[in-house]
Amino acid sequence: MSIRILFSTLRRHSMMPALVLLQVAVACAILCNVLFLVWQQLQPMLAPSGVAGNQLILVDQLASPQRAFTTAEVRGGEVALHEVPGVRAATAAFGLPMVGSNLMDIALQGPNGVKVGVNGYLGAGLIDVLGLQLVAGRDFLPSEYRDFGIGGTHEKWSAGGPQPIIITQTLAKRLFANGRVLGQLLTDPSDKNDLGYQVVGVVRHLLRNQLGLATNGRADDTVLLARRIASTSTLSYAVRVDPALRKAAIRGVRKVIQQHFGALLPTGITARVSSYSSRREAAFKSQRAALGLFAGITLAVVVVTAIGIMGLTGFWVQKRTRQIGIRRALGARRADILRYFLAENALIVSIGVAIGMALALLGNALLMHYYELSRLPWSWLPVGAVVMLLLGQLAVLGPALRAAAVPPVVATRSV
């Protein structure tokens, strides 16, 4: 059977194939875009956090607009937290995973010229408290820590050389292109006078706290800096607990924070004490909502297209029952008929998909013009295309099998 026959049939009865083609094109355009959007929402949710999530309790919203907490108050909180039963480690911190209230942006430039904007996490002994996995190098030395606070103490890095920095594996790959990492220098592209950073350690993963930016391989764009939280007007704590005692530890931590800071906070402001997992749940709430919407649309597109192809092809097959009978009478096997209809569908859907991919890019460009969406990468187009082709073949299977079942004797009957 040559492809010429396929084409000539299509030309003769062009209405039904045209409708199938049109719907495949539009559906493919929608599917490419919506699958990409689903992926955009999923990425931060799937990204490994790198922290020991089930052992972590986070405390934030300790804010005092009237006067900064003193260094003694900050340390006192740490000491008291250590004494809570079930607590293994605790430290005051600025910038913590799943805590969006304290953000620190840092611009880094590698020796290869690559610039990245990363989130910084600050606090003494964070590797230990967060349960990060160090894959190369070392943790900060106690002598390397400098004091840091918002609206309070802020010691600039003024020692002779660059300050130590711990980066993630993903960052190491991007900034140093698989070469040597430890001991290498990074610069701040926005500040020529800055002394820069020297990489002393690499952790496996560490999820950034600007979750909106945790897409397209940027989820692990996070660094640790050697800072100890001192006098500050906004304070947070990371507390690592024994997972078996987590419930009791949360209550204990809450009590300690209330005792220590209750009187210092203005009315109406209460510290937030909750487990990492509940923060994660809350942080991804809007992501899940969007995901639900997009997933619903994906499902609807798939169902509608499948029903459509089935219905239209079914009718078209029925119209050609007599021709099928003639072909069977002339010696075509069932498998030939089946293959013919599958090939016909593949041909129509392929043309539709080709138009659909162009439509997808056009639609994405339009959406990007009006909304803050990311550009649909070329590599996403085949995803929608493959889904449509498979869907088409599946949908046409029913009508094609019915066609293959047409007995040759139909040819001799008048319809």
Partner: protein
């Protein structure tokens, strides 16, 4: 005649049930996806104050200058106390209010009851008239209370029910933190969503969206050094400590609203605002040219992206899906109608006009559309219900099915199906009676 077509349609729909079910399923799925996303969009873009929102404006003044890198040249959403006081005193609008969020611990007179937290706003008395706050008892405080900063208090109906069992509590006293207030009014049900007037916390999504419990005079709150519950934004180099320093600082924390009933008022106020900023520049307070905004409620909501982009995009995608459904329905109706060429031939031979055939098939299409619409209603209900599980309760409460949505679902289904049926119907009406009769 319609009765006959109706009967014909029912017969035809029952003759090939598979095709009918496919068409109905397509209409249902298409219309439901549009309607569910539309319900979400409608809930989030609803006008919080219909009829009034276009004349309520929020002046913004850039008091940080171009050095502030965060906002791409946009002035902050709230004002510094310096600017808020200046605008209040200038009285350049018929009505105006400065406001900020406050929180207290309420100590019940009955010592056996435990204190509880209440939230509200420090406002000037124009607030009640500007934002259409109804009063169940009493009224807002006087302009004198505003000037003097007295301890007048307007409470919500909910708080009144809780403290006074819903009776007229005007003249009673309430203790907030360590200060006694006298109730001058009880607000009726009032809780516009989103809480656009609270520009200091407009980005906060954790807000429960409950009605504010208390309102007290702005001047009083400032004199009593009651801190904002939504926080102040200060420049990173702000080193001041204490209340007085905050009042004289460039920290922004006061929301400001003006009521400008006519476009001329709005124009005058905009030029007043520009001149104010220019004067500040001349005085040397600002080292940059005036950078001010005057946005009304719809403009402000658009500016802060009150409607999540995902919701808008999914509505557009759902409309695209509706298009796919339409294409399919055209094809399937064509299939359905052309199968009956013989029947059409007989009717035409017996004297039916093309118009009559057209009417018959359009009736049938409308019927299929209606049945598809019913399925669409069911699916929309399920979808909207499912949305409750997806969104935060605050938003989910707003997404609901009502008579409008039900009517729209049915209307869209029927209109869409009839539109899709136009081409198949035209083809059906073109059937040549002679050919059909001959071939049998």
């Amino acid at each position: 005649m319609f009765g006959y077509y109706f009967e014909l349609a029912v017969r035809s729909l029952r003759r090939n049930p598979v095709l009918t079910i496919l068409i109905v399923a397509l209409i249902g799925a298409g219309v439901a996806s549009s309607m569910v996303t539309f319900a979400a969009l409608r809930a989030m873009s609803a006008d919080p104050m219909p009829g009034k929102s276009a004349q309520l404006y929020e002046p913004q003044i850039d008091n940080w200058g171009p050095a502030n890198p965060d906002v791409h040249g946009e002035p902050p959403l709230t004002l510094s106390y310096i600017d808020a006081e200046a605008l209040l005193h200038a009285h350049a609008a018929p009505r105006q209010t400065a406001l900020y969020q406050v929180a207290f611990s309420l100590v019940p007179a009955d010592a056996t009851r435990a204190p509880f937290a209440v939230k509200g706003y420090a406002v000037t008395t124009d607030f009640f008239a500007m934002f259409n706050v109804p009063m169940a008892y009493g009224a807002g405080w006087s302009a004198l209370d505003d000037d003097k900063g007295t301890d007048a208090l307007v409470i919500s109906r909910r708080l009144n029910d809780r403290l006074f069992g819903g009776t007229d509590s005007v003249g009673r006293e309430i203790r907030l933190d360590n200060h006694d207030y006298r109730v001058v009014g009880v607000a009726g049900d009032w809780n516009p969503q989103p809480r656009f007037y609270a520009t200091g916390s407009i980005h906060v999504t954790t807000d429960h969206g409950d009605a504010p419990d208390v309102f007290l005079p702005f001047t009083h709150a400032v004199e009593q050094q009651i801190a904002t519950a939504w926080g102040n934004y200060c420049r990173p180099d702000y080193k001041g400590m204490g209340w007085d320093a905050l009042l004289h600082s460039e920290c922004v924390w006061v929301a400001f609203w003006v009521d400008l009933p006519t476009p001329a008022d709005a124009w005058h106020y905009a030029s007043f605002l520009h001149n104010y900023a220019a004067a500040q520049q001349r005085m040397g307070r600002f080292s940059w040219p005036p950078n001010v905004r005057l946005r009304n409620v719809p403009q402000l909501l658009a500016y802060v992206h009150a409607v999540p982009e995902q919701v808008r995009v999914s509505f557009l995608l759902a409309l695209g899906l509706q298009l796919v459904c339409l294409v399919n329905i055209i094809g399937l109706l064509l299939a359905k109608f052309m199968r009956r060429s013989v029947e059409i031939g007989v009717r035409r031979a017996l004297g039916a006009s093309r118009g009559a055939i057209g009417l018959q098939f359009l009736t049938e299409a409308a019927m299929v559309g209606a049945v598809g619409g019913l399925l669409g209603l069911l699916l929309t209900g399920i979808g909207v219900y499912g949305m409750g599980a997806l969104f935060t309760p605050k938003i989910a409460r707003l997404v609901h099915v009502d008579a409008d949505l039900l009517g729209l679902t049915l209307l869209v289904s029927i209109v869409a199906t009839v539109l899709a049926a136009l081409y198949p119907t035209w083809r059906a009406a073109q059937v040549q009676p002679a050919w059909q009769l001959k071939s049998n």
